[in-house]
C-alpha cells in the first residue's frame, strides 16, 4: 500500500477514503457491525452503543461517532465487546414485549434479528415490559409506544428529512418516551402519513397499518367484483423478499399472483399515470397561456398534499387539480364497473402509506363509497402472496387485463423522483424523435439528489423546473420561491428518491434503493410506447367513458380546511 492513510481493523489494513466515521469504514471492510440508531441519511445519534469497538489502548469507542484516523488500530470482536453487546440486548429485551410471533414486525425486527445473531438464549433480568400502548388513530401507521427502544430513528427521520416534527422525545430518564406534543393521537398531530418513521423503526413500535384482512374478505365475497391496480414502484421492490433480485421488474409475476389469489381484473397504475400526464400537461399549458401565477406543483404524492394543506394552505391554489394516478384510474375503473351485476370493490397496491389516507378522503368518494376501497402496501402484498402459498419464483409472468391494459413507459417512471417531470416533458415537447426522448432524460431530471433543477425550452418560452424529494427539501424550495425565485413547474415527492422508497416498500439500504430506480428506467426502455399521448387507450377513454366527465372524474380541488387545530 503506497498510502499512509490507513488504519487497522481487526489486524487488517484498511484504506481511509473520506469515510465520516469508523462504522462506515468497518462496514466497507466487510464486517457487519450491529447498530440500531445509525442510518447514513440521518444525523449521528450514538445512543444504542451496539457499534462499540475497542481501540489499541483498550478504550471503547462508538464507531458511528468516531472519525477514522491514520494509524488507528481497532478491534470489532473481542470478548469484552461480545459481552457488552449481549448485555445491551438483554437490557433492551428486559423491558420489551417478547410476543414476537404475534408482532406486526415479526421477521423484520432488528431487535429480534440481533438477539438471534448474538445468541441471546435467556434474559437474566425480570421482564418489566408494560402492556401495549397502541395509537391506531392514523390511517397510515400504528404506534405501540411500549415496543420502542428509544433509538430516535423516527424522530430524526420526521425532523431532518421530512421537516414535520410530529414526534419527539418527551420526559426524561426511565420515563422517556417518543411522543407527539401532549401525547395527542398521531392523527391530530402534524403527521402527513408518509410512514418514513415506520420504515426506519427497528422494532414493531411504528408499523404500517395493516389492511390485508379487508382485502381477503372482499376476495371471499362472491357478490363482489374485485379489481386491483398496481403502482409502478411496487414491481421493482417486491422481488427481493420473494426470491428475485432487488430492482428486477416483477410486474408479470405480480399479475399472475394476484390472479391466483382471485382478483377479477388486474391493472397497472401506469395507465392512470398516463391520464395524469395528459391532464397535468394541459393544466400547465393553460396556466402558462393564461399568465396564471406560477409555479404549478404536482399533486401525485398524497403526503405532499397533506403537508401543503397543513403547512402552506396559501399554496393550495398552486397545487395541480389533477387527482393522483391512483385516484384517476380508480374513478375510471369504478365508472366502468358501475353497472356490474356484482358490488365493485377496487384495491390498490401501493408503495405508500399516505395512500391509505388518500383513499378515505371525502374528495374521492362517490355516493359515500371510496373509489379506492382498500390500499395495501408492497409489504402487505408480499405477506398475502406468502399466505396464499404461492411460490413467487416459480410463477409464469402474465399480462394485465383489458380494457384498461395498455400503458406507456412514461407512466412507469412515475415511481421514481423526476419521473413525473420527464413524462410531462415528453408530452410537451414538440420534437417527438427518439433523440429528443434521450435528451430529456439527460437534462437533469434523473438522479437521486434531493433538489434538481433544469430549464427546458417550450416553444419560445424557457420553463424553469424543479424536482424535489423529501419534504425538508420541498420546504427549502418553497422558502426560496417565497423570496422571489421563479419556477414554472415543481415536482414534489415526499419520500427520499420518490415512490420506489415509499414506506410501504420492503426496507433497504440507499444503494439498494437506487437499483429500484434503475429497474423502472429499464422497464421504460422495454416499453413499446414511451409517450402518454400515444397510448391508444387514452384516445378511446377521452372519446368514450371520459367524454363530458373529465373534470368530475379526474380533477379535485383540495380545500384548506384541514389546518392544524389545537
Amino acid at each position: 500500500m503506497k498510502t499512509n492513510n490507513y488504519m487497522l481493523i481487526d489486524g487488517m489494513p484498511v484504506e481511509i477514503n473520506g469515510e465520516k466515521n469508523l462504522l462506515e469504514l468497518i462496514r466497507k471492510a466487510g464486517i457487519k457491525l450491529p447498530t440500531f440508531c445509525y442510518h447514513s441519511e440521518l444525523s449521528i445519534y450514538g445512543a444504542c452503543r451496539m457499534c462499540m469497538v475497542e481501540n489499541q489502548w483498550g478504550g471503547l469507542d462508538a464507531a458511528c461517532s468516531t472519525p477514522p484516523k491514520a494509524g488507528m488500530a481497532i478491534r470489532t470482536n473481542t470478548r469484552r465487546l461480545r459481552k457488552y453487546r449481549k448485555m445491551i440486548l438483554e437490557l433492551l429485551l428486559a423491558n420489551h414485549c417478547r410476543d414476537c410471533t404475534t408482532c406486526n414486525n415479526n421477521g423484520k425486527c432488528k431487535l429480534q434479528d440481533l438477539a438471534v445473531t448474538f445468541n441471546i438464549e435467556r434474559v437474566r433480568f425480570p421482564n418489566t415490559a408494560a402492556k401495549p400502548k397502541i395509537d391506531d388513530s392514523s390511517y397510515c401507521i400504528t404506534r405501540d409506544q411500549n415496543k420502542c427502544i428509544l433509538c430516535g430513528d423516527c424522530v430524526r427521520m420526521c425532523n431532518e428529512i421530512q421537516n414535520i416534527g410530529a414526534i419527539d422525545f418527551a420526559h426524561r430518564g426511565s420515563k422517556m418516551i417518543i411522543s407527539t406534543a401532549f401525547d395527542q393521537p398521531i392523527a391530530s398531530s402534524p403527521c402527513v402519513g408518509c410512514g418514513q418513521c415506520a420504515a426506519v423503526c427497528p422494532t414493531g413500535a411504528i408499523v404500517v397499518k395493516n389492511d390485508k384482512k379487508k382485502v381477503w374478505e372482499a376476495l371471499d365475497d362472491k357478490n363482489a367484483k374485485v379489481t386491483v391496480q398496481i403502482a409502478p414502484a411496487v414491481r421493482v421492490a417486491i422481488g427481493r423478499e420473494l426470491g428475485h433480485a432487488n430492482g428486477e421488474n416483477a410486474m408479470g409475476k405480480i399479475v399472475a399472483a394476484l390472479r391466483r389469489m382471485g382478483f377479477d381484473e388486474i391493472y397497472d397504475t401506469s395507465t392512470g399515470a398516463d391520464l395524469t400526464v395528459l391532464e397535468e400537461s394541459n393544466e400547465l399549458l393553460k396556466r402558462l397561456e393564461a399568465g396564471a401565477a406560477m409555479p404549478l406543483f404536482t399533486s401525485c404524492c398524497p403526503a405532499w398534499v397533506n403537508y401543503c394543506e397543513k403547512n402552506y394552505p396559501e399554496l393550495l391554489p398552486h397545487v395541480s387539480t389533477c387527482r393522483s394516478p391512483m385516484q384517476m384510474f380508480a374513478s375510471v375503473i369504478k365508472e366502468q364497473n358501475k353497472t356490474s351485476g356484482r358490488r365493485p370493490v377496487h384495491v390498490a397496491v401501493m408503495p405508500c402509506t399516505a395512500k391509505k389516507y388518500e383513499a378515505v378522503r371525502e374528495e374521492f368518494k362517490t355516493d359515500g363509497v371510496p373509489n379506492v376501497d382498500y390500499v395495501i402496501t408492497t409489504q402487505e402484498l408480499i405477506q398475502m402472496i406468502k399466505e396464499s402459498g404461492i411460490v413467487f419464483a416459480d410463477l409464469e409472468p402474465e399480462a394485465v387485463d383489458m380494457p384498461f391494459g395498455t400503458m406507456t413507459g412514461a407512466g412507469v417512471i412515475f415511481g421514481v423522483t423526476g419521473g413525473v417531470t420527464e413524462a410531462v416533458l415528453r408530452r410537451l415537447t414538440s420534437d417527438k424523435s427518439s433523440t429528443s426522448l434521450m435528451s430529456i432524460a439527460y437534462q437533469g431530471v434523473r438522479g437521486m439528489e434531493g433538489i434538481k433543477e433544469t430549464t427546458v425550452m417550450l416553444g419560445e418560452r424557457e420553463l424553469q423546473i424543479a424536482i424535489v424529494n423529501g419534504l425538508k427539501n420541498a420546504c427549502d424550495l418553497i422558502e426560496r420561491i417565497k423570496t422571489g425565485e421563479h419556477y414554472d413547474f415543481v415536482e414534489v415527492m415526499a419520500c427520499p428518491g420518490g415512490c420506489i422508497n415509499g414506506a410501504g416498500q420492503p426496507f433497504s439500504s440507499l444503494k439498494e434503493k437506487e437499483k429500484r430506480g434503475k429497474g423502472l428506467y429499464s422497464a421504460d426502455k422495454l416499453s413499446n410506447i414511451k409517450r402518454s399521448e400515444e397510448n391508444p387507450l387514452m384516445m378511446s377513454l377521452y372519446s368514450g367513458l371520459l367524454k363530458g366527465h373529465v373534470h368530475e372524474l379526474l380533477h379535485v380541488r383540495y380545500k384548506a380546511g384541514t389546518k392544524e387545530e389545537n
Binding site: 414535520i164 419527539d168 418527551a170 426524561r172 411522543s179 407527539t180 406534543a181 392544524e564 389545537n566
Partner: protein, 158 residues
C-alpha cells in the same frame, strides 16, 4: 389556535428575548413565570413563531422538572428534601402540609388553585434545615406545627 387566549404576554417575552430557536428555554421560563405554568395554548403559537415543532417544545418542557404543564397554585410551597433537610425531618413537614390541603404526591395543587406543594432536592440552604420556600421566600428551621401556622397565615392572606 385558541382565540380567547391573549398572546400579548408571549409576544412581549419573545420580543425581549429575541425570536430565536436557541432562546426557547428562556422564553418558556418567562412564560411560566407569568402564568405559573405553561399553558397549552402557547405551544402552537411558539411553534409557529420560532419555527420549532410543537413536539420539540413539548420535549423541552417535559425534560426539565422545573417546567409545569399543569396550572400551579397562587402559593407554590417547595419543601426541601435534600439530604440535610431529610435527616432533620422534612418529610413530616411535607406530610402535614399535604394532609392539611388534601394533596398527595400525584395531586400537587388544590382545586381552588391557591396552593401547590412539591418537593425539591436541595435549596442550597442546608444550614437552615429543614427549609421550605413559598414563592421563593425562604422559611428556615421548619416544624410541622410552624408549617401549619404558615399555611393559616397564607390562607387569611388570600
Amino acid at each position: 389556535m385558541n382565540k380567547t387566549f391573549d398572546y400579548k404576554v408571549v409576544d412581549e417575552i419573545i420580543d425581549e428575548l429575541g425570536n430565536r430557536q436557541s432562546a426557547v428555554i428562556a422564553i418558556l421560563q418567562n412564560i411560566q413565570e407569568h402564568y405559573r405554568y405553561l399553558p397549552k395554548e402557547v405551544f402552537p403559537y411558539l411553534s409557529k413563531k420560532l419555527g420549532i415543532s410543537q413536539a420539540k417544545i413539548y420535549s423541552v418542557a417535559t425534560f426539565y422538572e422545573n417546567f409545569s404543564l399543569r396550572p400551579k397554585g397562587k402559593y407554590v410551597i417547595k419543601v426541601c428534601d435534600g439530604t440535610a433537610c431529610h435527616v432533620r425531618k422534612s418529610i413530616p413537614i411535607l406530610e402535614k402540609l399535604r394532609k392539611e390541603l388534601g394533596l398527595s404526591e400525584m395531586k400537587t395543587t388544590t382545586d381552588d388553585l391557591h396552593f401547590t406543594v412539591e418537593t425539591v432536592s436541595c435549596l442550597g440552604a442546608c444550614g437552615l434545615a429543614p427549609v421550605l420556600t413559598v414563592n421563593d421566600k425562604v422559611y428556615p428551621a421548619m416544624t410541622p406545627d410552624k408549617a401549619t401556622g404558615l399555611l393559616n397565615g397564607l390562607k387569611e392572606d388570600k
